[in-house]
């Protein structure tokens, strides 16, 4: 007699995901979908898809989805949550969407303490459009628009979103995570669950910054890419909880 230890969650549809082999988008999608399924929220959730590699995430999550224009997901989420306070609303955004074109909308949603959950996928590069530099690209990294490597004089330092947003009073829960090992994957799922629970309890703005990979544009194998995220990226972007209204109180 076989018991199921692990199977694909019903929070994801049968659509094959269009992400590159080994891209951690798939892992993070899985975790969000599992949490929504297990908390019985798929029927009441509205997800906001952004523009980037995850532009078609609206095909993958099995809940109502709204596609937002580039950078505006937090504003769209505000429009949904303010008019539907009992729905669970999440955005799923890359580093270009959240930290570049969308930085104003993201900061202001956080500042107003919109009761939404932002899933921020930080892989330090613009994947969908072919590997251009992002606000979070590490110093020295060569990209298609920083062929000599990112340098401080031209580009400034990579933006530390979690550190920045931790200063905003109505941010209720903010953690930077990795999905680079099975243990971290399990921990990340718990953090997502906590963020959604905080949203349910009306505690304020919740954001999870995931260090993610881009094997194709980094020119690495999926496993090498995860190692880059675990080492070089984690050195600059330390993991941990940056804000938790329940602990900090």
């Amino acid at each position: 007699m076989n018991d199921i230890i692990y199977q694909k969650t019903k929070g994801l549809t049968n659509q094959a995901m269009s992400y590159c082999p080994g891209c951690t988008h798939g892992i993070i999608h899985k975790l969000v979908a599992e949490v929504l399924e297990e908390m019985n929220l798929l029927n009441h959730t509205v997800g906001i898809a952004s523009v980037g590699c995850s532009v078609m995430s609206y095909y993958y999550f099995d809940c109502d989805m709204i596609q937002a224009s580039h950078g505006r997901a937090c504003a769209v989420a505000t429009g949904v949550k303010r008019t539907h306070p009992n729905n669970i609303v999440f955005t799923y955004q890359g580093d270009g969407d959240l930290a570049s074109i969308g930085i104003a909308e993201t900061i202001h949603a956080a500042n107003r303490g919109e009761n939404i959950t932002v899933i921020f996928i930080n892989n330090g590069i613009y994947g969908m459009t072919g590997g251009q530099m992002a606000p979070t690209t590490l110093l020295g990294k060569k990209t298609t628009t920083s062929p000599y490597g990112r340098n401080i004089e031209d580009h400034g330092m990579p933006i530390k979103i979690a550190e920045m947003f931790a200063t905003i009073p109505k941010v209720a829960y903010l953690e930077r995570l990795s999905v680079g090992t099975p243990q971290k994957v399990k921990k990340a799922k718990k953090s997502i669950e906590k963020a959604i629970r905080y949203q349910q309890e009306g505690k304020g703005f919740t954001m999870l910054e995931f260090l993610s990979t881009c094997p194709v544009n980094w020119g690495l194998t999926p496993i090498e890419a995860i190692k880059y995220a675990e080492k070089e990226m984690t050195e600059y972007y330390p993991l941990g909880v940056f804000k938790d209204v329940d602990q900090d109180a």
Partner: protein
């Protein structure tokens, strides 16, 4: 649903249509019983994964946890 591995013997099965041959499951299996086939592919042309020593599976589900495409189902095998 992921319940998380007990150290019981496990059995893994693959929905190969979704596999992209990314090798993460192979890398993270703690008992090293998964291997990418060097020849066989699925319809999309990705090399599929073989379980080379199924008796050694400890049912930890690390492979399934790391799989970005939810290819793997892990079942507990009761003796």
């Amino acid at each position: 649903m992921a319940i998380g591995g007990l150290m019981a013997k496990g059995k893994v099965t693959f929905d190969y249509a979704y596999c992209k041959g990314c090798n993460l499951c192979v890398e993270y299996c703690p008992v090293h019983i998964l291997e990418l086939d060097t020849y066989k592919t699925n319809e999309k042309g990705y090399n599929i994964v073989n379980v080379i020593e199924p008796d050694k599976c400890i049912g930890c589900a690390f492979c399934a946890l790391m799989c970005p495409d939810s290819v793997i189902t892990v079942k507990r095998v009761k003796s």
